[in-house]
């Protein structure tokens, strides 16, 4: 059992990956495409704005969030109708102005609002879960330059955990893609 402890001490800080800085949208797209074409899967691009074409350049598959809207919407619809039918027509039936105990037209507004509410909660919940939020610690946050990723610089990070990762090859690839600066980020 003592072996892993020793190896941690011997290795020192572990490499998380390489972080390359770019100064324009065009260079970022080109670099992301080259990294993907080189066969890497554990890499990411970072930009202050959503970049057109980055999905294709990085090979990101379409998000499944729309399914959550369908699920949330269907739950809201069903819950809304059931709630109004059960409370007003079954559990506590009472007659008001001769209106039917349960009538679809009068049930539409609440059903509609619940449909929208649960769909919206589904989308935001899905976004938060799929993006792994909240995530207050990330190795990239240690980089001083990376702070500009939310202001005016574009970055590509390639993780050391990628099976094809070799420090010098990746560095060369990123530099030849037009990176203005490449740095190693520790885990």
């Amino acid at each position: 059992m003592s072996e892993p402890r020793l190896s941690v001490v011997a290795e020192g800080p572990k490499l998380y990956g390489l972080l390359a800085e770019f100064d324009s949208v065009g260079k970022l797209l080109a670099a992301a495409e080259r990294v993907r074409e080189a066969g890497f899967t554990r890499f990411d691009a970072h930009s202050p704005i959503p970049v057109h074409g980055l999905d294709e350049a990085m090979g990101i598959r379409p998000s499944r969030l729309p399914l959550l809207v369908l699920g949330g919407g269907a739950s809201g619809l069903g819950a809304g109708l059931l709630l109004q039918w059960w409370t007003n027509a079954v559990d506590y039936p009472f007659m008001i102005s001769g209106k039917p105990l349960f009538g679809l037209p009068a049930a539409i507004p609440v059903t509609f609002e619940l449909t929208i509410l649960l769909s919206a909660l589904g989308v935001v919940g899905g976004l938060v879960v799929a993006n792994g939020w909240p995530q207050f610690h990330h190795p990239l946050f240690a980089s001083e330059r990376f702070r500009r990723a939310t202001t005016d610089r574009f970055f590509v990070s390639v993780e050391a955990a990628d099976p094809r990762f070799e420090l010098e090859t990746v560095r060369g690839l990123l530099e030849s893609a037009g990176a203005s600066h490449v740095e190693e980020v520790e885990d």
């Binding site: 324009s24 949208v25 065009g26 260079k27 797209l29 080109a30 992301a32 495409e33 990411d44 691009a45 970072h46 930009s47 202050p48 704005i49 959503p50 970049v51 057109h52 074409g53 980055l54 999905d55 294709e56 379409p62 998000s63 729309p66 809207v69 709630l83 409370t87 007003n88 506590y92 009472f94 008001i96 507004p109 609440v110 509609f112 609002e113 929208i116 509410l117 919206a120 909660l121 989308v123 935001v124 899905g126 976004l127 993006n131 792994g132 939020w133 909240p134 995530q135 207050f136 610690h137 990239l140 946050f141 990376f146 702070r147 500009r148 990723a149 939310t150 202001t151 005016d152 037009g178």
Partner: protein, 488 residues
């Protein structure tokens, strides 16, 4: 008022090129700097303190009035039979209406790819949140015993009773609370990238921790952006029918009853148009002084003001049409009670309120046909303030004139507000402005990431289509090749 130099006027139409949405020598760095600097000052300017002191005092007055109301009872208001809804519901409908511009700008203009919305959406969405907070207050306190307000929700309780879902008043509970929740989600999700910008620029530990927590660990990741844009588009698509439904449901409170003057089918579209009209007027009322004080003419350009003025004019015409159509139907229906209700509005004891409304909502906006009025900030501001007044009176006229004289002359009455009514209204403005000033102080007042993405450096101008059809939120089909070649 700082005069806006002529170079900043980008409102002239030149069909050969699209007018820039950000003027001046700005790039990503300077836009970030300009917007963040407002929220990053170690101390706000003195004017902020003065404005905050006034609005916080008014908010305290609101609290005192509510305390007085709770301790004494609903009789402290000028309400009595037959007018059992007065300032309370007028204020509620007024504030909910104000709250419509934000989601209209964020959701509907987003779906229509109106890129100019980026400069004003954060501002308008925040206004929406605060207006809906003010709105939600009134129905909650007007029930008389606010500690029983939970009866409005379908909660299992010791009485074994459920609320009556066939009542429009209960529909309102669902509509307004859904609207508030979805608007809040929209506002917050839209703000995450900008909160991360503030986190990354933070110079003190406390700012870095607070904005760090609020931004949830955003790092501009391409994979996150991908889902984020999808989620934003879906939220916009969900909020669009929602924003149209909320004021429709509010109008059902009146339209579903049998009172002459309320019982009309034109109410839902008429209320929605009025809400957008009043909401945009409130955006202009707040935005024009702040733009001038903080010298933001490069981000909120003359073109932005002109576009908003055009929406105010268009929705104002719809509202004017609805006023006319109500009279026509009152005559055409041949119903004597209906006809009386409308003649009574224009010529009865509340004629002063009716004609104030007509002047502010129908006559004053006509000034906006004139280009000079749309592009001169102070003139536009004047019209916007009048529209705010007019829209408050519209709700007052609808509610109070209809209730004060219905079928039987023996049960007519005249509603007069008490000092508590007036101070509660003033106090709700205090609460609204106080929340708004806090927003200006701590949160980026522009959607920085969105403003950047409509700038040339955002890459929108690269690719086969120019100008239209490209907007963030869209999944591009064919430009990616071009991007790759261009960069390589």
């Amino acid at each position: 008022m700082a005069t806006v130099p002529a170079v900043v006027d980008n409102s002239l139409e030149d069909p050969r090129r699209r007018a820039p949405l950000v003027l001046g020598e700005n790039d990503f760095t300077t836009v970030t700097e300009k917007v963040c600097a407002i929220a990053e000052r170690p101390r706000p300017p003195r004017e902020w303190y003065i404005a905050f002191a006034i609005s916080a005092s008014l908010a305290a007055v609101l609290l005192a009035m509510l305390g007085h109301l709770f301790l004494t009872g609903i009789g402290v208001w000028g309400l009595n039979m037959p007018v059992a809804w007065g300032f309370d519901i007028t204020n509620f409908v007024f504030w909910v209406g104000i709250g419509h511009a934000g989601t209209l700008i964020s959701a509907i203009l987003f779906l229509f790819r109106q890129k100019w919305r980026t400069a004003i959406n954060r501002f308008a969405e925040s206004m929406t949140i605060f207006a809906v907070i003010c709105a939600g207050l009134f129905p909650a306190v007007h029930v008389g015993r606010p500690w029983l307000a939970y009866w409005l929700f379908p909660l299992p309780n010791q009485m074994q009773m459920w609320p009556n879902f066939r009542s429009p008043l209960l529909w309102d509970v669902f509509a307004v609370s859904t609207y508030f929740t979805v608007s809040l989600l929209f506002w917050y999700v839209g703000m995450i990238p900008d909160l991360a910008t503030l986190r990354d620029r933070a110079t003190t530990r406390i700012r870095s921790v607070v904005y760090g927590i609020l931004s949830l660990g955003w790092r501009g990741s391409g994979r996150h952006w991908h889902r984020y844009e999808r989620a934003y588009l879906l939220l916009a698509a969900l909020a669009t029918p929602l924003v149209l439904s909320v004021h429709s449901v509010v109008s059902f409170d009146f339209a579903v009853s049998q009172l002459p003057g309320w019982h009309t089918t034109i109410f839902p579209p008429y209320f929605v148009a009025g809400a957008i009209f009043g909401g945009f007027a409130m955006v202009l009322t707040l935005l024009i002084p702040i733009r001038s004080y903080l010298d933001l003419g490069e981000l909120v350009t003359t073109r932005h003001l002109e576009n908003m003025a055009k929406i105010v004019l268009a929705t104002g015409m719809m509202v004017g049409y609805a006023y006319g159509m109500e009279f026509f139907i009152a005559w055409y229906s041949g119903n004597p009670y209906e006809s009386f209700a409308f003649v009574n509005r224009a010529l009865g004891p509340y004629a002063w309120a009716y004609w104030t409304m007509i002047f502010c909502n129908v006559i004053a906006p006509q000034l906006l046909w004139w280009r000079r009025a749309r592009t001169t900030p102070w003139m536009l501001w004047g019209v916007a303030v009048l529209v705010n007044v007019g829209m408050w009176f519209e709700r007052f006229v609808i509610i109070v004139t209809s209730l004060s004289r219905d079928y039987l002359p023996s049960s007519w009455g005249y509603f007069k507000p008490t000092w508590v009514d007036l101070l509660t209204l003033a106090g709700s403005f205090g609460l609204f402005f106080m929340l708004f000033l806090l927003f200006l102080r701590f949160v980026p007042m522009f959607a920085i990431a969105e403003v950047k993405s409509v700038m040339p450096a955002g890459g929108l101008e690269i690719g086969p289509h120019h100008g239209h059809g490209q907007y963030w939120g869209e999944i591009p089909h064919q430009h990616d090749r071009q991007f790759g070649e261009e960069g390589a």
